[in-house]
Symmetry: C2
Subunit: 158 residues, 2 copies
Protein backbone atom coordinates (compact mmCIF):
# COMPACT_ATOMS: atom_id res chain seq x y z
CA UNK A 1 0.00 0.00 0.00
CA UNK A 2 1.14 3.48 -0.82
CA UNK A 3 0.88 6.09 1.87
CA UNK A 4 -1.42 8.76 0.31
CA UNK A 5 0.69 11.50 1.84
CA UNK A 6 3.52 10.72 -0.57
CA UNK A 7 1.36 11.30 -3.64
CA UNK A 8 1.42 15.06 -3.30
CA UNK A 9 3.04 16.07 -0.07
CA UNK A 10 3.11 19.79 -0.77
CA UNK A 11 6.79 19.88 0.08
CA UNK A 12 8.22 18.29 -3.03
CA UNK A 13 10.77 20.97 -3.54
CA UNK A 14 12.06 20.70 0.00
CA UNK A 15 12.05 16.90 -0.21
CA UNK A 16 13.92 17.05 -3.49
CA UNK A 17 16.60 19.23 -1.92
CA UNK A 18 16.99 16.80 0.95
CA UNK A 19 17.36 13.87 -1.44
CA UNK A 20 19.81 15.87 -3.52
CA UNK A 21 22.00 16.58 -0.53
CA UNK A 22 22.11 13.03 0.72
CA UNK A 23 22.71 11.67 -2.76
CA UNK A 24 25.49 14.20 -3.30
CA UNK A 25 27.28 12.98 -0.20
CA UNK A 26 27.01 9.38 -1.38
CA UNK A 27 28.35 10.20 -4.84
CA UNK A 28 31.24 12.15 -3.36
CA UNK A 29 32.08 9.29 -0.99
CA UNK A 30 32.14 6.99 -4.02
CA UNK A 31 34.65 9.31 -5.69
CA UNK A 32 32.31 10.97 -8.18
CA UNK A 33 32.09 14.70 -8.78
CA UNK A 34 28.53 15.91 -9.17
CA UNK A 35 26.71 18.85 -10.66
CA UNK A 36 23.04 19.66 -10.14
CA UNK A 37 20.43 20.99 -12.58
CA UNK A 38 22.41 20.44 -15.73
CA UNK A 39 20.70 21.24 -19.06
CA UNK A 40 21.24 18.53 -21.65
CA UNK A 41 21.55 18.82 -25.42
CA UNK A 42 17.96 17.56 -25.67
CA UNK A 43 16.72 20.59 -23.75
CA UNK A 44 15.81 18.55 -20.69
CA UNK A 45 17.47 19.22 -17.37
CA UNK A 46 19.09 16.47 -15.33
CA UNK A 47 18.73 16.74 -11.55
CA UNK A 48 22.23 15.38 -10.93
CA UNK A 49 25.04 14.51 -13.33
CA UNK A 50 28.19 12.94 -11.88
CA UNK A 51 31.57 11.97 -13.31
CA UNK A 52 33.76 9.12 -12.13
CA UNK A 53 37.54 9.44 -12.19
CA UNK A 54 37.60 7.46 -15.43
CA UNK A 55 35.08 9.74 -17.10
CA UNK A 56 32.00 7.58 -16.73
CA UNK A 57 28.78 9.66 -16.67
CA UNK A 58 26.00 8.95 -14.21
CA UNK A 59 22.62 10.68 -14.15
CA UNK A 60 20.48 10.64 -11.03
CA UNK A 61 16.85 11.71 -11.28
CA UNK A 62 15.29 12.76 -8.02
CA UNK A 63 11.70 11.80 -7.26
CA UNK A 64 10.16 13.27 -4.18
CA UNK A 65 6.71 11.68 -4.50
CA UNK A 66 4.78 9.05 -6.42
CA UNK A 67 3.05 11.86 -8.27
CA UNK A 68 6.42 13.25 -9.30
CA UNK A 69 7.36 9.87 -10.76
CA UNK A 70 4.05 9.31 -12.54
CA UNK A 71 4.03 12.61 -14.41
CA UNK A 72 7.53 12.00 -15.77
CA UNK A 73 6.99 10.13 -19.02
CA UNK A 74 10.31 11.14 -20.51
CA UNK A 75 12.86 9.70 -18.13
CA UNK A 76 14.13 7.18 -20.73
CA UNK A 77 15.63 10.18 -22.58
CA UNK A 78 18.20 10.48 -19.82
CA UNK A 79 19.72 7.17 -20.84
CA UNK A 80 20.97 8.81 -24.01
CA UNK A 81 23.18 11.11 -21.96
CA UNK A 82 24.78 8.77 -19.44
CA UNK A 83 26.47 5.44 -18.85
CA UNK A 84 24.29 4.65 -15.85
CA UNK A 85 20.89 5.98 -14.83
CA UNK A 86 19.57 6.07 -11.26
CA UNK A 87 16.48 7.29 -9.52
CA UNK A 88 16.90 8.72 -6.04
CA UNK A 89 14.01 9.00 -3.59
CA UNK A 90 13.30 9.48 0.09
CA UNK A 91 12.77 6.46 2.35
CA UNK A 92 8.97 6.62 2.12
CA UNK A 93 9.03 5.74 -1.59
CA UNK A 94 9.38 2.03 -2.21
CA UNK A 95 11.94 0.77 -4.70
CA UNK A 96 9.17 -1.30 -6.29
CA UNK A 97 7.62 1.88 -7.71
CA UNK A 98 10.62 2.51 -9.94
CA UNK A 99 11.58 0.94 -13.29
CA UNK A 100 13.48 -2.29 -12.64
CA UNK A 101 16.11 -1.57 -15.29
CA UNK A 102 17.37 1.57 -13.57
CA UNK A 103 19.51 2.02 -10.50
CA UNK A 104 17.88 3.09 -7.26
CA UNK A 105 19.24 5.27 -4.46
CA UNK A 106 17.51 5.79 -1.15
CA UNK A 107 18.46 9.12 0.37
CA UNK A 108 17.81 11.35 3.34
CA UNK A 109 19.37 14.70 4.21
CA UNK A 110 22.55 13.16 5.59
CA UNK A 111 23.42 10.40 3.21
CA UNK A 112 22.20 7.75 0.86
CA UNK A 113 22.72 4.20 -0.25
CA UNK A 114 22.48 2.39 -3.55
CA UNK A 115 19.71 -0.19 -3.18
CA UNK A 116 19.93 -1.34 -6.79
CA UNK A 117 22.93 -0.98 -9.11
CA UNK A 118 22.31 0.64 -12.48
CA UNK A 119 22.91 -1.35 -15.68
CA UNK A 120 25.62 0.07 -17.87
CA UNK A 121 24.85 1.43 -21.34
CA UNK A 122 28.08 2.96 -22.64
CA UNK A 123 27.93 6.35 -24.28
CA UNK A 124 29.37 6.86 -27.74
CA UNK A 125 32.74 8.68 -27.50
CA UNK A 126 31.40 11.86 -29.13
CA UNK A 127 28.46 12.03 -26.69
CA UNK A 128 30.75 11.44 -23.71
CA UNK A 129 33.06 14.18 -24.90
CA UNK A 130 30.18 16.62 -25.35
CA UNK A 131 28.68 15.78 -21.94
CA UNK A 132 32.03 16.15 -20.18
CA UNK A 133 32.74 19.51 -21.82
CA UNK A 134 29.24 20.79 -21.08
CA UNK A 135 29.57 19.67 -17.46
CA UNK A 136 33.02 21.26 -17.14
CA UNK A 137 31.98 24.62 -18.54
CA UNK A 138 28.77 24.83 -16.57
CA UNK A 139 30.47 23.99 -13.26
CA UNK A 140 33.26 26.49 -13.92
CA UNK A 141 30.90 29.31 -14.89
CA UNK A 142 28.81 28.78 -11.77
CA UNK A 143 31.95 28.86 -9.63
CA UNK A 144 33.21 31.96 -11.43
CA UNK A 145 29.90 33.74 -10.81
CA UNK A 146 30.26 33.04 -7.10
CA UNK A 147 33.90 34.18 -7.01
CA UNK A 148 33.23 37.40 -8.94
CA UNK A 149 29.72 38.71 -8.35
CA UNK A 150 30.55 41.60 -10.67
CA UNK A 151 30.78 39.21 -13.59
CA UNK A 152 28.08 39.98 -16.11
CA UNK A 153 26.87 36.44 -16.66
CA UNK A 154 23.74 37.47 -18.49
CA UNK A 155 25.55 39.03 -21.39
CA UNK A 156 27.13 35.92 -22.72
CA UNK A 157 25.42 32.81 -21.40
CA UNK A 158 26.94 29.46 -22.25
Amino acid sequence: MIDPSVLTDGRQSETALIVQRGTGRLLRALGLAMLTEMPLASGRRADIVALTDTGEVWIVEIKSSVQDLRVDGKWPDYRLHCDRLFFAAPPQLDIGLFPADTGFIRADAYGAEILRAAPEHRLAPATRKAMTLRFARLAAVRLHGLADPGLRLGENPL
Copy 2:
Protein backbone atom coordinates in the same frame (compact mmCIF):
# COMPACT_ATOMS: atom_id res chain seq x y z
CA MET B 1 63.47 51.25 -17.95
CA ILE B 2 61.85 49.01 -15.40
CA ASP B 3 60.23 50.69 -12.45
CA PRO B 4 62.06 49.12 -9.45
CA SER B 5 58.82 48.98 -7.51
CA VAL B 6 57.56 46.21 -9.77
CA LEU B 7 60.47 43.91 -8.98
CA THR B 8 59.15 43.01 -5.57
CA ASP B 9 56.17 45.10 -4.73
CA GLY B 10 55.30 43.32 -1.49
CA ARG B 11 51.72 42.99 -2.70
CA GLN B 12 52.14 40.25 -5.25
CA SER B 13 49.29 38.24 -3.93
CA GLU B 14 46.88 41.15 -4.06
CA THR B 15 48.11 42.11 -7.52
CA ALA B 16 47.73 38.55 -8.70
CA LEU B 17 44.13 38.48 -7.51
CA ILE B 18 43.39 41.70 -9.35
CA VAL B 19 44.90 40.33 -12.56
CA GLN B 20 43.00 37.09 -12.07
CA ARG B 21 39.70 38.92 -11.76
CA GLY B 22 40.18 41.11 -14.81
CA THR B 23 41.43 38.18 -16.86
CA GLY B 24 38.47 36.09 -15.77
CA ARG B 25 36.07 38.73 -17.05
CA LEU B 26 37.84 38.85 -20.39
CA LEU B 27 37.78 35.07 -20.77
CA ARG B 28 34.10 34.94 -19.91
CA ALA B 29 33.31 37.69 -22.39
CA LEU B 30 35.14 35.65 -25.02
CA GLY B 31 32.92 32.67 -24.21
CA LEU B 32 35.43 30.62 -22.24
CA ALA B 33 34.73 28.98 -18.88
CA MET B 34 37.61 29.35 -16.45
CA LEU B 35 38.89 27.65 -13.35
CA THR B 36 41.63 28.98 -11.07
CA GLU B 37 44.43 27.15 -9.28
CA MET B 38 44.12 23.87 -11.11
CA PRO B 39 46.66 21.16 -10.30
CA LEU B 40 48.03 19.46 -13.41
CA ALA B 41 49.15 15.89 -13.94
CA SER B 42 52.75 17.12 -13.71
CA GLY B 43 52.17 18.29 -10.14
CA ARG B 44 52.37 21.97 -11.09
CA ARG B 45 49.42 24.26 -10.57
CA ALA B 46 48.05 26.45 -13.33
CA ASP B 47 46.81 29.90 -12.28
CA ILE B 48 43.93 29.82 -14.77
CA VAL B 49 42.69 27.06 -17.07
CA ALA B 50 39.87 27.91 -19.48
CA LEU B 51 37.78 25.89 -21.93
CA THR B 52 36.28 27.18 -25.16
CA ASP B 53 32.92 25.89 -26.37
CA THR B 54 34.73 23.56 -28.77
CA GLY B 55 36.90 22.10 -25.99
CA GLU B 56 40.09 24.02 -26.66
CA VAL B 57 42.22 24.41 -23.52
CA TRP B 58 43.89 27.69 -22.62
CA ILE B 59 46.28 28.23 -19.73
CA VAL B 60 46.93 31.71 -18.38
CA GLU B 61 49.86 32.25 -16.03
CA ILE B 62 49.62 35.35 -13.88
CA LYS B 63 52.73 37.40 -13.22
CA SER B 64 52.42 40.22 -10.74
CA SER B 65 56.01 41.45 -10.90
CA VAL B 66 59.24 41.08 -12.83
CA GLN B 67 60.61 39.07 -9.94
CA ASP B 68 57.66 36.72 -10.20
CA LEU B 69 58.45 36.14 -13.88
CA ARG B 70 62.19 35.71 -13.37
CA VAL B 71 61.93 33.02 -10.73
CA ASP B 72 59.61 30.92 -12.88
CA GLY B 73 61.92 28.73 -14.91
CA LYS B 74 59.34 26.07 -15.59
CA TRP B 75 56.62 27.88 -17.46
CA PRO B 76 57.29 25.93 -20.70
CA ASP B 77 55.82 22.90 -18.91
CA TYR B 78 52.40 24.50 -19.16
CA ARG B 79 52.48 24.14 -22.92
CA LEU B 80 52.15 20.40 -22.49
CA HIS B 81 48.71 20.89 -20.93
CA CYS B 82 47.05 23.38 -23.23
CA ASP B 83 46.36 24.42 -26.81
CA ARG B 84 47.31 28.03 -26.12
CA LEU B 85 49.46 29.58 -23.41
CA PHE B 86 49.19 33.17 -22.19
CA PHE B 87 50.82 35.29 -19.56
CA ALA B 88 48.67 37.89 -17.83
CA ALA B 89 50.12 40.89 -16.01
CA PRO B 90 49.16 44.29 -14.65
CA PRO B 91 49.64 47.43 -16.78
CA GLN B 92 52.98 48.31 -15.17
CA LEU B 93 54.66 45.20 -16.64
CA ASP B 94 55.72 45.66 -20.24
CA ILE B 95 54.85 43.03 -22.81
CA GLY B 96 58.51 43.05 -23.87
CA LEU B 97 59.46 41.28 -20.64
CA PHE B 98 57.53 38.16 -21.65
CA PRO B 99 58.48 35.32 -24.02
CA ALA B 100 57.55 36.34 -27.56
CA ASP B 101 56.08 32.94 -28.44
CA THR B 102 53.36 33.13 -25.79
CA GLY B 103 50.16 35.13 -25.68
CA PHE B 104 49.99 38.20 -23.49
CA ILE B 105 47.04 39.65 -21.57
CA ARG B 106 47.10 43.03 -19.85
CA ALA B 107 44.66 43.09 -16.95
CA ASP B 108 43.40 45.30 -14.17
CA ALA B 109 40.69 44.57 -11.62
CA TYR B 110 37.85 45.33 -13.99
CA GLY B 111 38.85 43.79 -17.26
CA ALA B 112 41.65 42.83 -19.58
CA GLU B 113 42.69 42.76 -23.19
CA ILE B 114 44.75 40.40 -25.30
CA LEU B 115 47.79 42.35 -26.48
CA ARG B 116 49.35 39.37 -28.23
CA ALA B 117 47.56 36.27 -29.50
CA ALA B 118 48.92 32.91 -28.38
CA PRO B 119 50.25 30.46 -30.95
CA GLU B 120 48.31 27.22 -31.13
CA HIS B 121 49.93 23.90 -30.22
CA ARG B 122 47.18 21.30 -30.34
CA LEU B 123 46.94 18.83 -27.51
CA ALA B 124 46.90 15.12 -28.20
CA PRO B 125 43.33 13.76 -27.84
CA ALA B 126 44.16 11.72 -24.74
CA THR B 127 45.70 14.74 -23.01
CA ARG B 128 42.74 16.93 -23.91
CA LYS B 129 40.36 14.31 -22.56
CA ALA B 130 42.30 14.03 -19.31
CA MET B 131 42.54 17.82 -18.87
CA THR B 132 38.81 18.29 -19.55
CA LEU B 133 37.84 15.57 -17.09
CA ARG B 134 40.21 16.89 -14.43
CA PHE B 135 38.83 20.41 -14.93
CA ALA B 136 35.23 19.17 -14.80
CA ARG B 137 35.68 17.18 -11.61
CA LEU B 138 37.62 19.88 -9.79
CA ALA B 139 35.09 22.60 -10.65
CA ALA B 140 32.18 20.40 -9.61
CA VAL B 141 33.76 19.37 -6.31
CA ARG B 142 34.49 22.98 -5.40
CA LEU B 143 30.92 23.93 -6.19
CA HIS B 144 29.60 20.99 -4.22
CA GLY B 145 31.68 22.00 -1.21
CA LEU B 146 30.12 25.46 -1.31
CA ALA B 147 26.59 24.08 -1.70
CA ASP B 148 26.96 21.55 1.11
CA PRO B 149 29.38 22.76 3.79
CA GLY B 150 28.71 19.52 5.64
CA LEU B 151 30.38 17.54 2.90
CA ARG B 152 33.49 15.84 4.20
CA LEU B 153 35.84 16.78 1.40
CA GLY B 154 38.96 15.76 3.24
CA GLU B 155 38.04 12.13 3.44
CA ASN B 156 38.13 11.39 -0.23
CA PRO B 157 40.05 14.05 -2.14
CA LEU B 158 40.06 13.88 -5.91
